[in-house]
Symmetry: D3
Subunit: 131 residues, 6 copies
């Protein structure tokens, strides 16, 4: 129902096939979700996006679960339904408990609320907050 | 320059004064930032908002620094300039290092990018992601 | 500081001049705010926009003040700083009291909050709500 | 199909059960819509949200129908599909006629349009609009 | 499933009927898509919107295909699912090839990404960019 | 005034210095705008972003001016003030005339308007638009 058909494995270009193989190996599952099957129409973009995700979402100064929760937060504020679904599932797979999820929702709700208040009142930035 | 003047301490109602006293005691500083000085025009809303923030942002299943980073993420996606400034400052005050901040920015950038791609292609949600 | 210079009266085309005259007559003031001075670079768009505003914001099934408050709400959610300022001023000029404004802000804050919650949880629309 | 299952009445905690009872009593109907059934996973958040809605949406300086229309406006600009559906239904239940709804849509459309124009041209805020 | 029922041809007012006739004549097809069938509840708004679209989307300094791609870009950033679908279809009907579409998606993705970065860092506008 | 100080040339890391040199050579000017000076705090992100921009914005199936106009459209809908300024300037540098700009603004305004209408009415996607 998207603007492009989802590509099945046998419709992939060689370059897209290689990316799918890496997705499967990295994630340890044969399942490749719809985002990649849509993006596979542009193998160069597919490859660039996958490599960026692999790099950015890897453990670093922030742990991967924190990164997934940030991803859910951005996707919610951007009203990206698919992204909310896929990254909430990813956060759970990385250990997000029901308690953590409830707190994440509370912070998203609170931030949305105060964002609205601040924008409506056009509050000036305090000098103390400027770098 | 906002839509309401910022209230100085001597212009506060008694109810607003009590909230400011609690903000100062809780944060251990005399400084009260502009958001509260704008919101003080509606003491009931001021009180409700401050109490909610105190409760939601407290340590729990997620630590306060993670919550501040989620707050920055939501505020960025909502284009709330003041909120980005104030919660980035708060995250730093709670221990966000330059490395953590750089990673936070990378996740925000990546999520924004894939949100755009997914929405443009209107990718259908995988059954596997539904609760 | 915008992307186009603001046009002073003596820089207006004849068509733009006529629109400015109607703005002044309709509003009963000589002051023409910056939005119109920016838009005046495209007199046809200026005219179409002004005529639409005059028609849509006129008294009807909803009174003009309610319309201005709805305008503030949309502008806030769209993070349009100029629009929030100008329509908050317009709402006040049409009789919005401090109490009404405080309630407007509460509704905007509440709606922003529950919008965030609903989008994060991807709640399905009840059959009862469908037309 | 959300990120959390909707809770039926017999799956509710005692605290959530009490909130549902108050929703039913306040609204004079046995029907509890999906938002509350999703939120019921976090009874404290459920209670806080319901109490805030009851308070904010009550008659005051603005009448409840005006508040519902503002709610629809914010929800539209935030692209919250569920919220648009539920608050449009609520506005109708509170007396929004077809004529009022048509005017509401016109204002939302007009505000969206001028928000886009203003942001694209980055119009500076007039001094006259600053508090 | 919308907030208003879609009007079939025999439910149209005379004014709406005339607009539908012009849509059909202009586009050279009997098919009238759902947007117009929803908007037809407000014949004056229907007429104003259709006439504006006909004028704005016509060939001019920009060709119609470029305009459709800009429309897709705005609709994506505003998370308007219907609009993304209808204007992507329109762009294809006006000659957008798979290669052009892939490049459009890349620009949308890139702009979304740098928008997020810039907003998160609150970068000051260079004097060189001001009009 | 951002959340990070802008780096002057003598504060750059070697990796950031190399990126700046490439920006200067590619653009044929010594001027490096603030976005890059903010991003230079994370040389890896700086390099990845610059290389992506160079690649995506290059001539291809779409010409670079069309890409800049799409960039302006996305940045406007995302309320990114800096991005609107910088990409409007870039579009002008690539040949956008006043007439083209006026038409771009009209399309952005129109799309914003119909996005609002469609979302408010929750119009169902026509089967004809699905891929």
């Amino acid at each position: 129902m998207g603007t492009v058909p989802l590509l099945s494995d046998d419709a992939l270009s060689d370059e897209a096939h290689a990316v799918f193989a890496d997705i499967r190996a990295t994630r340890g599952t044969d399942y490749v979700n719809n985002f990649w099957r849509a993006l596979a129409h542009d193998p160069a973009q597919l490859k660039a996006t996958w490599e960026r995700i692999k790099e950015v979402m890897a453990p670093g100064a922030l742990d991967p679960l924190v990164k997934e929760m940030v991803y859910v937060a951005v996707s919610t504020a951007n009203s990206c339904s698919y992204c909310v679904h896929s990254h909430t599932a990813a956060a759970r797979a990385k250990g997000m408990t029901d308690e953590m999820y409830a707190e994440l929702l509370r912070v998203i709700a609170l931030a949305s609320q105060t964002n609205g208040l601040v924008t409506a009142m056009q509050v000036e930035v305090d000098d103390a907050f400027k770098a």
